[in-house]
Symmetry: C2
Subunit: 457 residues, 2 copies
């Protein structure tokens, strides 16, 4: 067992705490529903693969303010007029709410709630920042991984990117999301320890350079790791390195190419290896790879068995951010419940607690989604959001990561191929239900007409 | 005092540990020098602002393998033939080496070592991954922050991006780097607690939406935070919201615009506020801003006093990764020291332990850098790398972050304006010294000629 990565409630934006103080001081007792969703898919993505829920739930179960943290807050000038009772409240702060979510490993689209929190409004607000950063990042990387794995057409992809990730923790979370998205493993040992992900490693240029002779470095490494050695062959001259391996009579599990023209070199290396009877020696490729370069290299006949993908995967380099938001959709106070929506010029949100219904075609493939109200019922539509936490405790134990990965593989295979295209995927059909549209209109009337009246004053 | 963010030695790539085992089993006693540098500046950056050294040093002082972690490694199939002595070694593993580095807050360029580790080769190798991810990410964000601050032309910039950062830790590290790079503060409260960074907050749309009447939400918030309230005015109708503030007789510290046309709206809001005598009420702008949109808005006359920059800053969105590497440059064994270099087709490295010498023009501004050997001496050149750790302990206490921020401000002001241009900055002149060039040739002869000879065999 490992500790949760995160439990401090201070991992939040200051306004969550000032709003909390204002609600507390004004005795606002409402419970609120917030939904987390992506406003728009990036142009380069036909779908997103939901990930990060596990770390979000872990955080919700563990979240606390320590006494030191509360003292810190008390000393901040902004809280100068806030009374002791609020800080006493923070001392006992726990997340006691309910969470609905689409399971990790599900393909999702714009406007679909990935998660809904129903909780006293202060609790729902304080956890916003951490929920957003947990789900956004892993969803980005899991999606990128699914694309890279698709491009590799059945060849194994290993995540290699911790060194270029946005700090050490981001590296470990990226490894998790990449595995979930279909990678066969990671180079990150902490991710192996913490999440049970298979770990892979080869050899660095420094090891080759630490010996006066390249062949000697290969011989020494192979002696210690006779069944696992993947020798790095591009430190000086790639083809000469293969000749050395053959001359020394080594039978490495693999060789790794990290520079040069992948197509030409991999074919030449394969030819030399096969000619020497090393048909079992696999070829690993690495070096600034992504889904596009992998697809192109394979199309041109590159003789690669495994890909190591680092920077591009761990930072989701072409799409390093997602427009995820966490919006108030309903407020329950004194037995009455009112739907909420926002009508800023360019940032409208849909009100009410929602459910996503997914429909299948005659072959069992996904055909369209309807975003409806939670209480709606579509007998042919699969409801995607499930209640995963009640009273601040999970409703069921966390699934093993390997099961989540299997779910992702299965669900992705139900998404018709055009939506999985690397480039110019058509938009998957997602529509609000008539009932949701009607609710939006109702809220618009209630909220905007009086405002317009006031302006006309 | 807070705990180091990171101390587990497992935050490393598997090959670092397999190489460590191979060195150990082969009784390689060498001490090695590795240098960390950026191969190439991204096209959109004229310079980088070094950051993240503090977290790297904290990690080096704290790094350990726990007994659980060692048991985990022992169970991995790849280590099946590795003897007990290696795992006993890991139990006592500490970083005992020396570190040279360019101080945080210094402008740096491609090929310049940001950091050098001199240590027993196993130690130098095990810490590679964490050093790279610590320095790369903060350097990216500090650089982005410096650009945004430059674009804002003296107006305050607050970092708002934790929710969109690559996980929660990345958000906190981004806040640190952004402050170092010139932001006046962050919304991230943990960053305030941990690093003493000023925290800023406003109000979310949800707070406005939680009340039936927008004006009532403003009134309630202003009552609790009379001197600090920054009211969010774009939930329904921006200009109508300003009218409500005026009619209610509120005197908020500021108002925030988060959507709509920034130039037109900010001017109209300023006009209304001034007309009502609210000349002290400041205008905050947020909403997918970056250095380019800020520069354009100000050029078009936007009446903005403070900018909140989130996603673009915390992910360095246009340049979310840097090609940082950590390369073996020298090996010392049995009293002899040998320089090392790599000659892969597209990834050459310079051998030897280096120093960066920075030259100033007649006005004291930076004019050019020479990357030379450590033992060289340029009386007019300022040597940038300093010894910051010896025997695994810092040579001096960590400077306060506010001092590092001040150093960054001062050093950036010495970089001539063309290199700080947001677009199409010319390349700052950096050249290797003749002695370094000569060493490269010498190593090339030693390493490549015999290899070529072997191939000709």
């Amino acid at each position: 067992m490992t500790e949760p990565l995160r439990r401090s409630a201070l991992l939040t934006d200051l306004y969550e705490l000032t709003m909390a103080a204002a609600y507390f001081e004004n005795n606002v007792q409402a419970s609120a529903s917030f939904e987390l969703f992506v406003r728009q898919l990036p142009a380069e993505r036909g779908y997103l693969l939901a990930a990060g829920l596990e770390q979000a739930l872990e955080f919700l179960e563990a979240v606390r303010f320590t006494p030191d943290e509360i003292d810190f807050l008390r000393r901040q000038e902004v809280f100068g007029r806030v009374g002791d009772a609020f800080f006493d409240y923070l001392r006992e702060f726990r997340f006691t709410g309910e969470v609905w979510a689409i399971p990790e490993g599900s393909p999702v689209f714009a406007d679909e709630p990935l998660l809904r929190v129903n909780a006293p409004i202060i609790e729902a607000q304080v956890v916003e920042t951490c929920l957003l950063s947990s789900l956004t990042f892993q969803t980005l990387v899991a999606t990128k991984a699914a694309r890279v794995v698709e491009a590799a057409g059945g060849r194994g992809v290993v995540e290699f990117g911790t060194r270029r990730a946005h700090g050490p923790e981001a590296g470990t979370l990226a490894a998790r999301a990449a595995y979930l998205g279909g990678c066969i493993g990671t180079s990150n040992v902490e991710a192996g320890f913490r999440f049970g992900i298979p770990t892979y490693g080869t050899l660095a240029h420094s090891f080759v350079m630490a010996y006066d002779d390249e062949g000697e470095s290969f011989r020494q490494f192979s002696r210690i790791f006779p069944d696992h050695a993947i020798l790095l062959i591009d430190t000086y001259d790639t083809l000469a390195a293969v000749d050395k391996i053959i001359r020394l009579g080594l039978r490495p599990r693999g060789v790794r190419l990290d520079s040069g023209d992948l197509v030409t070199l991999s074919k030449a290396v394969r030819h030399k290896l096969d000619h020497a009877g090393l048909t079992e020696t696999r070829i690993f490729a690495s070096g600034d790879l992504n889904e596009y370069t992998i697809a192109d290299a394979l199309k041109a006949g590159a003789a690669v068995d495994f890909f190591g993908v680092g920077t591009e995967l761990a930072t989701s380099k072409d799409v390093p951010a997602l427009g995820t938001v966490y919006k108030l959709v309903q407020l329950n106070e004194g037995g009455a419940s009112r739907s909420r929506a926002k009508f800023s010029e360019d940032k409208r949100t849909y009100p009410g607690c929602k459910q996503v219904f997914r429909f299948h075609d005659g072959n069992g493939l996904y055909s369209r989604d309807i975003i409806g109200l939670l209480e709606e019922d579509y007998p042919d539509g699969e409801p995607l959001l499930r209640c995963v936490m009640r009273g601040g405790r999970r409703t069921e134990a966390a699934p093993a990561l390997v099961q989540v990965r299997e779910r992702a593989r299965e669900k992705l295979s139900l998404l018709p191929a055009p939506y999985r295209q690397l480039r110019s995927a058509p938009p998957y059909p997602v529509r609000p239900s008539p009932a949701l549209e009607a609710l939006l209109e109702e809220v618009r009337h209630r909220v905007l007409l009086p405002a317009a009246g006031e302006v006309a004053d």
